[in-house]
C-alpha cells in the first residue's frame, strides 16, 4: 500500500490499540471476596462495625504497611501479581434463609472466590453449606457455635475459637479459682434459643457435670423478648454463685436492666461474649456490670507486648471511632488469613484456595490475637486459638486469665 500520512496514522493507531489491550490484559484482575454480616435488624450495629473491621483489613492487605502481619508489607496479593482484593458486602439481616440467598447471589452473580462472615452462627450454617455446594471456602470470622465444624464440610474454616473451647476456658478458670480457695459450686445458665445459645449451654452443661459444678437453673429464653422479668425472677430464686449468660446485645441490655429492677445482684457473671463484648451494651448498662467477666478472643492490653496490635487498633479506630473488640478483631484477622491463603494459592479457584487454607501455619505472634498459632485441623477448626477471660473494671476490659496472659488479678465477687 502507499505510504501516505493517512495510512501511517491509521496503521500506528491500530498498533497502539493492540498494544493498549495487551497492557490492560497484563494488569491483574482484582480478587473478589463476599462479606456477609447483619447490616439491618437488631444486630445492625455489629454489621456496621464489621464493615469497618473489613475495610481496615482491606487497607492492610492492599497497601503497604510496616507491620508484622501477613500481606501487610506488600501492596495487594503478590502471588497474583499484586492483584487487589475487593470486598462485596451482603446483608443477611440475621435470617439464615436470607443468608443462603445472599451467598448464592455473591457466588453466582458477583463471582466471588470465597465467603467470610457472619456473626450469627445460625446464618453460618446455611452460608457454609452454600459455599460447600459451589466448592469455594467459607471462612467463619466470628461464629462461635461448635456444631459448625462438625457438619462434615470440606470448605469450612474457622480461625477463632468456638464455644466449647471458650466454655472450657471458663471452667479452667473456675477450677483455678477453686484451688485458690474461692467457693464456686452452683451455676445458672441463661441462653437464647438459636444455635449459638443452645450449643453454648450444652457445652457448659457438659463441663459442669464433668468437673463437679451444680447447675441450679438452666433458662432458655426467646431472643428479642420485650420482657424478661419472669426469667430473671427464676434466676434470682436460684441464686447461683455464677450467672452464665449467652446472649446477643438487645437481650443482654434487657437482662442487666431487669436484674437491677428486681434487685438481683449475682456474685459473679461470666458471659459467653456476643452481646457482652459489644460497646453498645456497656454504653447502655456499664455502671451496673462493673466486674462482669466475659470470654474473649482478643485483649487490647496485648498492645503493650506486641506493637502491631496498637497500630492496627489505631487504623481501626480512625475509621470506626472506637477500639477493636472481641468481634471486630476476629473479623479483621480472619479476612487477612483468608487473603493470605488466596495469595499462597496463587489462584482464585475454590479448590486451590482450600488447599492453601489447609496448609496454613501462621505463628500467633504474626497476628493481633493472643493465639498460639493458626493451623486448621481436619474439620477446618484452629485448635490453637487460645481464649482469654476479660473482666470489666473501671470501664475497661482487662485480661485476667490464663495467668500467662493476665495483667490483673480477678475481682471476685464482682461487687467487691
Amino acid at each position: 500500500m502507499n505510504v501516505t500520512r493517512r495510512n501511517v496514522l491509521l496503521g500506528s493507531a491500530a498498533v497502539m490499540a493492540t498494544m493498549a489491550t495487551r497492557v490492560r490484559a497484563a494488569q491483574p484482575k482484582d480478587v473478589a471476596i463476599g462479606v456477609l454480616y447483619p447490616f439491618s435488624g437488631p444486630s445492625a450495629q455489629v454489621g456496621v462495625d464489621a464493615k469497618f473491621a473489613s475495610e481496615t483489613a482491606l487497607d492492610i492487605i492492599n497497601n503497604r504497611h510496616d507491620l508484622d502481619l501477613p500481606l501487610a508489607k506488600s501492596a495487594g496479593l503478590p502471588g497474583l501479581g499484586g492483584a487487589k482484593v475487593r470486598l462485596v458486602y451482603a446483608d443477611h439481616q440475621g435470617d439464615p434463609q436470607k443468608g443462603r440467598a445472599e451467598a448464592e447471589r455473591l457466588i453466582t452473580q458477583e463471582k466471588v472466590c470465597a465467603l467470610i462472615g457472619t456473626y450469627y452462627s445460625s446464618v453460618a450454617v446455611t452460608v457454609s453449606q452454600t459455599a460447600e455446594r459451589y466448592g469455594l471456602p467459607y471462612m467463619s470470622a466470628d461464629n462461635s457455635s461448635p456444631s459448625l465444624q462438625r457438619q462434615g464440610l470440606k470448605f469450612f474454616f474457622r480461625a477463632a475459637a468456638h464455644d466449647e473451647m471458650f466454655s472450657k476456658g471458663m471452667f479452667d478458670f473456675y477450677d483455678w479459682m477453686r484451688k485458690k480457695g474461692t467457693k464456686i459450686d452452683t451455676l445458672a445458665l441463661f441462653h437464647e434459643d438459636t444455635i449459638f445459645g443452645t450449643d453454648s449451654s450444652n457445652a457448659q452443661l457438659k463441663f459442669a457435670s464433668e468437673r463437679g459444678y451444680k447447675v441450679v437453673a438452666d433458662i432458655k429464653y426467646h431472643a428479642n423478648s420485650p420482657s424478661l422479668t419472669a426469667e430473671v425472677t427464676q434466676l434470682k430464686a436460684a441464686n447461683a454463685d455464677v450467672l452464665m449468660p449467652s446472649s446477643y446485645t438487645t437481650d443482654g441490655i434487657l437482662l442487666v436492666k431487669t436484674m437491677a429492677e428486681l434487685g438481683y445482684k449475682p456474685k459473679a457473671i461470666v458471659a459467653q461474649a456476643a452481646g457482652f463484648s459489644d460497646k453498645a451494651l456497656f454504653d447502655a448498662v456499664g455502671p451496673q456490670i462493673q466486674g462482669l467477666i466475659t470470654r474473649g478472643s482478643f485483649s487490647l492490653d496485648l498492645a503493650a507486648k506486641r506493637p502491631s496490635v496498637g497500630a492496627v487498633n489505631a487504623l481501626f479506630k480512625a475509621r470506626a471511632g472506637k477500639d477493636l473488640n472481641d468481634n471486630t478483631s476476629r473479623e479483621l484477622m480472619a479476612l487477612i488469613i483468608l487473603a493470605d491463603a488466596i495469595d499462597r494459592a496463587k489462584s482464585t479457584d475454590g479448590e486451590a484456595i482450600r488447599k492453601a487454607l489447609v496448609a496454613t501455619d501462621i505463628p500467633g505472634t504474626r497476628t493481633i490475637m493472643p493465639w498460639k498459632r493458626v493451623k486448621f485441623d481436619a474439620q477446618g477448626q484452629n485448635e490453637d486459638a487460645d481464649p482469654v477471660l476479660l473482666q470489666y473494671v473501671k470501664d475497661k476490659l482487662v485480661t485476667i486469665f490464663p495467668p500467662q496472659a493476665a495483667i490483673a488479678a480477678p475481682i471476685w465477687p464482682m461487687g467487691a
Partner: protein, 293 residues
C-alpha cells in the same frame, strides 16, 4: 423450685407489662374499629415516639415524664398526616383496596425503619438519667420498678380518659357514628375524612404515650417496634377489633399469661401460652372477647 413470693413477683410484673401492652394496642384497635384499616406501621410509630422522647431528653434535658405531652402531640400530628398523606389515598383504590391498604402501611413501616437506621444509626440508645429511671419500690418481697408502675398507672388513666372521650364528647360520638356507617354520617354533618384523620391522630397519640413511657426503661433502636407490634396485633385480635375495653382486658391477659407460661414451660416458649389463649378465644368467639364486629 419457685416460692410463692417469686410467683407473686412474676404476676405483678406480668400485670404491669400487660397494662403497657394494652396501651400499645389500643391505638391499633381504635384505628381498625374506625375504618377497617390495620396499621402495619404501628410498631414504627412506637419507635418514633421512643426516639422523640430520647431526643428531648438528650437535647433539652427533659425528663421522659415531662416529655410525654410533647411526644403525644407530635405523634397526634404525625398520625393525622399519615392518614391524610397516605392512607386516604390508599382507601380510594377501587381494585384490591384491602391489599392496597395493607401494603401502604406495611411499606410505610419499612420506610420508617430504614430512615431511622440511616439517620439515627442502629446503635442502642437509652435514657441514662430520668426521674423514675432506676427507682424500685420494694413491697415486701416484691420489687416494683418505678417506671413500669407509673407506666401502668398512666395506662389506666389513659383508658379512663379515652372512655370519657368516646362516651361523653361529641367527637367520641362522631367516631362511633362513623364506625357504624361511614357513608351515612355526612347526612348528619360529620365529615368522614375529618373523623378518620382525627381518629388516626388519636390512635397514634396513644401509642406515642406508650412509647414515651417505654423510653424511660427500655432500650431504643430502629427495630424496637417489631416485638411490641406483634404483641399488639395479638392483643387487639384477642380483645376484639375496635373495642377499647377489649384492648385493656386483652393486654392484661397477654401480660399475665406470658409471664406465667415462662414459669410453667421453658421460657423460650412463653409466647405459646399467649397464642394458645388466643386460639381458644378465636375458636369459640371469633370476634374476640369484647369485639363487636
Amino acid at each position: 423450685m419457685l416460692t410463692a413470693s417469686s410467683i407473686a413477683q412474676i404476676m405483678v410484673s406480668g400485670l404491669l407489662t400487660g397494662l403497657i401492652y394494652a396501651l400499645v394496642a389500643v391505638g391499633l384497635s381504635l384505628i381498625f374499629g374506625l375504618m377497617n384499616v390495620v396499621n402495619f406501621a404501628h410498631g414504627e410509630f412506637l419507635m418514633l415516639a421512643m426516639y422523640a422522647t430520647f431526643g428531648l431528653a438528650l437535647g433539652l434535658a427533659l425528663d421522659p415524664l415531662v416529655a410525654v405531652p410533647i411526644v403525644m402531640a407530635a405523634l397526634f400530628v404525625f398520625g393525622a398526616a399519615v392518614y391524610l398523606g397516605i392512607v386516604s389515598y390508599a382507601m380510594r383504590a377501587r381494585v384490591n383496596s384491602g391489599m392496597v391498604q395493607i401494603f401502604s402501611t406495611f411499606g410505610l413501616a419499612i420506610l420508617l425503619r430504614g430512615l431511622a437506621q440511616y439517620f439515627l444509626t442502629p446503635n442502642y440508645r437509652s435514657i441514662a438519667h430520668s426521674w423514675l429511671g432506676s427507682r424500685t419500690f420494694a413491697l415486701g418481697p416484691i420489687y416494683v420498678p418505678a417506671p413500669q408502675l407509673v407506666g401502668a398507672l398512666i395506662s389506666i388513666a389513659a383508658f379512663f380518659a379515652l372512655w370519657l372521650l368516646i362516651t361523653r364528647t361529641d367527637f367520641g360520638k362522631a367516631i362511633e357514628a362513623t364506625r357504624e356507617d361511614a357513608d351515612a354520617v355526612a347526612l348528619v354533618g360529620i365529615s368522614k375524612n375529618r373523623v378518620f384523620a382525627l381518629g388516626w391522630g388519636l390512635g397514634a397519640m396513644l401509642v406515642g404515650l406508650a412509647g414515651a413511657i417505654l423510653a424511660s426503661f427500655y432500650y431504643i433502636y430502629p427495630n424496637v417496634g417489631g416485638p411490641f407490634a406483634l404483641i399488639a396485633y395479638v392483643t387487639v385480635a384477642l380483645g376484639g377489633f375496635g373495642s377499647v375495653f377489649g384492648a385493656l382486658a386483652a393486654g392484661v391477659i397477654v401480660g399475665l399469661v406470658e409471664a406465667l407460661t415462662a414459669v410453667i414451660l421453658p421460657s423460650d416458649l412463653k409466647e405459646v401460652g399467649v397464642y394458645a389463649v388466643y386460639l381458644a378465644v378465636v375458636l369459640f368467639r371469633p370476634r374476640g372477647l369484647f369485639g363487636s364486629i
